[in-house]
């Protein structure tokens, strides 16, 4: 079945596994993609609560720290992340940022032997993260790096 220059979009489903896209393959692609989209995180941020600078950012809106939310340090072990209310996708369509869930994990380093993070979904674009370490059996606010995942 000729495709490519002989049959551009709309792409006829069919052909063979070597030169086409089978109806069954397209059905699998469609349903798998839908499933993944439904549970995919909106963003993953690696940052330090004492720093206003993200260390790494993976977002559905873009990849790289330039696309990261604005991070504000609110004190020791306490930071706020603020996303824009919307972002443009690759076709320049605007989509609202409507955060619903978040999980975070603290990162130990240097003298901090353990760390944990607690998240607070303040608004649909704003998340507050507090980090602690346990010192002499007591949780103490401590600046540590955090991996934050939001949906």
């Amino acid at each position: 079945m000729p495709l490519g220059g002989f049959a551009p979009c709309p792409l006829p489903l069919g052909g063979t596994v070597l030169d086409g896209l089978l109806v069954e393959q397209h059905a699998r692609l469609s349903t798998d993609l839908r499933s993944i989209v439904q549970t995919a995180p909106f963003a993953v941020v690696h940052f330090n609560t004492s720093s206003a600078t993200p260390l790494a950012y993976l977002g559905q809106n873009d990849v790289g720290v330039l696309a990261a939310p604005t991070i504000t340090s609110l004190g020791v072990g306490d930071a706020r992340l603020l996303w824009d209310v919307s972002y443009l996708d690759e076709y320049d369509n605007a989509w609202a940022v409507d955060l619903s869930f978040a999980v975070a994990c603290g990162e130990f380093a240097g003298g901090v032997q353990n760390a944990y993070a607690v998240v607070e979904l303040e608004t649909a674009q704003q998340i507050r993260v507090r980090t602690y370490s346990i010192v002499a059996g007591v949780p103490v606010a401590t600046d540590v790096s955090v991996s934050l995942v939001v949906w």
């Binding site: 709309p10 469609s30 993944i36 995919a40 995180p41 690759e90 353990n114 346990i134 010192v135 995942v149």
Partner: protein, 177 residues
């Protein structure tokens, strides 16, 4: 001769919609749309697939590991489940009670044999509670061989007093980029 896909393996996080066939000016040939949606894939369909896949590919975890520390009889952790974009279960080493280190290879090949680095940039560990009380898990991402690629994640599990938790059960998720 096998085909070389466009773009990069997904764990590099470098594929935009064009890598999947999207284009902001893509059109149906001679502007003739789908004749039969049961048999045709339109330019609009293809662009939606491409953009959605590019979006979720940016944030999808590289790996998810479910494991248990072996501390009563000290040994490497037991991995019960492992899901990953590529490769097999990483090597786990016991450092102490509730304290393990996983080391991944620094590069993997995709289904088409394209090899790319896997630089770990984020990790989330959560203890799986089997007893009453508070448990916390924390992580440490590092570049143990100092070559610019983070390949190591150390995980520690402690209780509310900060004491190490032996034989801890943990779910660990990692992201590369």
């Amino acid at each position: 001769m096998s085909i070389t896909p466009t773009g990069y393996p997904v764990w590099v996080r470098a594929n935009g919609h064009t890598a999947y066939g999207g284009h902001i000016n893509k059109t149906n040939y001679q502007s003739v749309g789908t004749i039969n949606p049961r048999t045709d894939l339109s330019a609009e369909n293809l662009c939606r697939i491409a953009a959605d896949l590019a979006a979720v590919a940016r944030t999808a975890p590289f790996s998810v590991v479910a494991f248990q520390c072996n501390d009563a009889v000290p040994a490497a952790p037991t991995v019960s489940k492992y899901f990953a974009m590529a490769g097999t279960t990483p090597t786990g080493t016991r450092n102490g009670d509730g304290d393990i280190t996983f080391v991944w290879p620094e590069s993997f090949a995709d289904d088409y044999g394209i090899i790319a680095n896997a630089n770990i940039v984020a990790a989330v560990a959560t203890p799986q509670q089997t007893m009453a009380g508070m448990l916390f898990a924390s992580v440490q991402i590092s570049d143990a061989d100092a070559d610019g690629i983070n390949e190591t994640v150390r995980v520690r599990v402690v209780d509310a007093t900060g004491a190490a938790v032996p034989d801890a059960i943990v779910s660990l998720t990692t992201w590369t980029g």
